[in-house]
Amino acid sequence: MLTEVLRRLMATVPVMVVVAIAVFGLLHVTPGDPAVIIAGDYATAEDVARIRGRLGLDRPFLTQVEIWLSNVAHGDLGTSIFSGLPVTTLIRQRAEATVSLTVLAMLISIGLGVPLGVLAAWKKGSSLDRVVMVLAVSGFSMPVFWLGFILVYVFAISVPWLPVQGYQPLASGVWPCLRHLILPAVTLSVVYMALIARMTRASMLGVLGEDYIRTAFAKGLTPGGVLVRHALKNASLPVVTIIGIGFALLIGGAVVTESVFALPGLGRLTVDAIVRRDYPVIQGVILVVSAVYVLINVVVDLLYVVLDPRIRF
């Protein structure tokens, strides 16, 4: 098992190298002189020259890639042009809000999405099933930020129960932090929940037709026991897979959600960096987020063994 974990981790290295080169290469494949683009519309010739020198853009392309990769391998993601701080420091400062937002959204989506999918599959063709499916398709089509504003309007402006926006760090207490995160997390979870519910239903439908399920019912087990212990366990692989793959969607949604609710997370960091054309920050955030995404999917792969003992490495 341990060798397998290591093997899987090693397999992510080429993927991450491609990500690192791609993020860096973007600067060079987009039309125009990268130093001029980063310097912005009102820059003087000296500004452009200074940026070119600072980012090493005056060196041959392959040398630049080499330096970038070696820096990344040493955990150095460069310095922000705007604030002059190391990108890793900026990311560390902003990580808490994003991590707590996405974790909470994930808990909500899995906690509601899986049971809804199971129930819909069990009562296939019933009105409950139809309601869940309609909600799933609509949830999947929902513009995240629009939903956020609707929730703000209802639960923070019309009925002032929850804060309109802002963030309280976890250090200031669990409840103050949670209170600020409820609306953003619900907003963010809808798309992901829809995806999970739909996949759970599809996968459960495949399993519920099997003979052993009929047998389990025939020997008098309770529906709950059969659904969870016999059916869901065997239907869980595609669900776990979609939870891993869908994480990309969650991250995309987090960028927009953070903007709506003014959460000081990685999404806000990225959007601010885009306005300021602070490319080192943009490429640093993308690299870190992609690495997390890849790692989550490694964990999903490893979960297969736990969920299905037939799969051996």
């Binding site: 993927v15 039309p31 930020f145 504003f149 996949m199 869908g246 990309a248 903007s259 709506v260």
Partner: protein, 301 residues
């Protein structure tokens, strides 16, 4: 992007769609098609809503709209009323007019991204699927590109390009190409083992002809379905980019940037956000329903 998730959703069910059109031909394809469409009320509903929205955008000047850019400072932030259905924004511009005109950007971006990604990704997938030497390296590169969440990749591209509708299309297109290529490659790999391809090869048919005459027809159905999902998510992502200020420039009204400008007035004038968002949600939902329906009708697994 959502399309990749859908793709993996369908991959779970087994291989790619095969040439089932031939089967339908024997039974009178029109009849078969009519019957399977009749069984899909959601598809019909989606298609009707989509048709209405296309009409709304295409004939925008006809629908009692005014000038989407005209500012009337004396009519700022007016509530929706009989005269101004969706109210006015902070410059006194008519939100109804702007929303109807915004349809154009969304539909143009969705269609362009879907068509271009199918074309480019499809061509790439065909080539990769047929060249064993290229396959290993190309798939590594694709895996790497697909590890970057689409929104972030599109945002990074927009940071490096000027804000314009064309650049939004490019930025949303690039993350989709590897996903389409991957789908097509998987189909080509399994079709390569298909009897009809083996037979054609035995008869001495060349590779380009096999690709065009034997594989492409079998790929049409899965690509059409994939295209609708790409279109839906491109429309959604255009709105995200514009909302974040990295998309369609403010001089062209788009649902995303109307809402971005309205966000400062959430408490005073909620209608600026409400109506464009309703249109956006309805459009994306309609296209997704059409996609789901097509998937069942064309029997793409």
């Amino acid at each position: 992007m959502s399309s990749s998730i859908r793709a993996s959703d369908s991959e779970l069910g087994g291989g790619p769609g095969e040439a089932r059109a031939e089967l339908a031909l024997e039974h009178g394809w029109l009849e078969t098609l009519g019957r399977s469409v009749g069984r899909q009320p959601m598809f019909v509903a989606g298609a009707i809503v989509l048709a209405l929205i296309v009409l709304a955008g295409a004939l925008a000047p006809v629908w009692w709209t005014g000038d989407p850019l005209q500012m009337k400072p004396d009519r700022r932030l007016l509530r929706p009323s009989a005269a101004r259905w969706f109210g006015t924004d902070h410059f006194g511009r008519d939100v109804y007019t702007r929303t109807i005109y915004g349809t154009r950007v969304s539909l143009a971006v969705g269609t362009a991204v879907a068509l271009a990604s199918l074309l480019l990704g499809g061509a790439l997938g065909l080539v990769i699927g047929f060249s064993r030497r290229l396959d290993r390296i190309a798939m590594r590169v694709m895996d790497g590109l697909m590890a970057i969440p689409s929104i972030l990749l599109a945002l990074a591209l927009m940071a490096l390009m000027k804000a314009s509708v064309r650049n939004v299309i490019v930025a949303l297109l690039i993350p989709e190409i590897p996903r389409v290529a991957r789908l097509v490659r998987a189909s080509v790999l399994s079709l390569r083992e298909h009897l009809m391809v083996e037979g054609a090869r035995a008869l001495g048919v060349g590779t380009p002809r096999i690709l065009l005459r034997y594989m492409l027809p079998a790929l049409v159905a899965p690509l059409v379905v994939q295209g609708t999902y790409i279109c839906a998510s491109a429309i959604l992502f255009e709105a995200y980019l514009s909302f974040l200020g990295a998309g369609t420039p403010p001089v062209i009204p788009s649902w995303g940037n109307i809402m971005a400008e309205g966000r400062a007035y959430v408490q005073l004038a909620f209608w600026i956000i409400l109506f464009p968002g309703l249109f956006l949600a309805a459009t994306v939902l309609a296209i997704n329903l059409v996609g789901d329906g097509l998937r069942d009708i064309l029997d793409v697994r």
